[in-house]
Symmetry: C2
Subunit: 199 residues, 2 copies
């Protein structure tokens, strides 16, 4: 088999590099490719090259875009006094889906994680600070995940942002909507109690 | 977002067509691609095109190969009197890994499944029958999965093969090696008892 299946082995290797895809999943995917029409295979391989070739980082918020500035950064309708700091472009999409936020974004492209050897200098932190100098921005919302790395990054950024006269805020902690109270962990429940609001 | 992220959306669409990969997994994969170097992206997209362009079905066993005949069909060391019939090329790899089988293979590229509208004419059945005419083949091992579709396909093929004077056999049923007897389902346990062998 070995020599004859070489292009297939190469493809399986490629697929198994994706996060969450093991050897078996990659094999299934490779055989799926073998079952596609030539046109479908071309579509898939060009979609991969296109995404990488045509998209780059917005020079303002660092989200992916095809232009110099992304659609949010170039929109005159957005509120330029608030910047929401997120880990990745996925988080921008998630927050946009709520249709409740009308400010700007800043994508860090990662979180501070000493365990993985990722420090603040590997994230888009200086690009964020560069946006705060003009006095236009009044508030920076730390919208990183409520994990150890997310909290550490939020705390670190807050310390840099506050001396510039900009308010640093954090997303609220509490019970996820639709969840059952009995399944909430102690920390979440404690946070929900201490952050309670008046009705 | 919509217009600017268009190449990304296209890529996510493409990835989410793979079996077992949902929208979220496809999104993670797409962002993984965005984080790759240009060389890595080229490697991935060409691996996809290559596998499809360079591999085709062996004209004898229907497994994927780069040549006219696959390495097993063209090997003088293999026993041409036995053909092991399997659902997919993956199964060939699995059986080859046992290093216990020295016969030939035949890949059906599917199983009979009336629920999915797949009949025998969509499988490589006539190619199998064409190999049995010469009298060289003495036995056909039905190595399809012990599922409803696998059993139905094995039974169907056995009926076609036997009138040609070829022995049709089926893989043994029983307890999987290393498993615990208490977790075996009734059917497997019944099969293991009725198929018991002398020590």
């Amino acid at each position: 088999m070995a020599n004859n299946a070489e292009p297939l082995e190469r493809l399986i290797d490629q697929f198994s590099r994706f996060p969450g895809i093991g050897r078996k999943g990659a094999t299934r995917m490779a055989y799926q490719v073998m079952g596609m029409s030539d046109a479908e295979v071309l579509e898939l391989s060009s979609a991969i090259r296109d995404a990488k070739a045509r998209l780059h980082r917005c020079k303002c918020c660092q989200n992916f875009t095809e232009s110099d500035l992304c659609s949010i950064c170039s929109s005159p309708k957005r509120d330029r006094s608030v910047i929401c700091v997120v880990e990745s472009p996925r988080d921008v999409t998630a927050i946009e889906r709520t249709r409740e936020y009308n400010g700007m974004y800043h994508v860090l492209h990662g979180l501070i994680s000493p365990m993985d050897g990722i420090g603040a200098d590997q994230l888009c932190v200086k690009e964020l600070l560069a946006r705060l100098g003009t006095g236009e921005v009044k508030e920076v919302i730390m919208a990183t995940s409520p994990t150890v790395e997310g909290e550490a990054t939020a705390m670190y950024l807050a310390k840099l942002v506050k001396p510039l006269g900009v308010k640093a805020t954090r997303l609220a902690y509490g019970l996820p909507v639709g969840s059952s109270l009995e399944y909430a962990d102690e920390t979440t429940l404690y946070r929900a109690i201490s952050g309670r609001g008046e009705l």
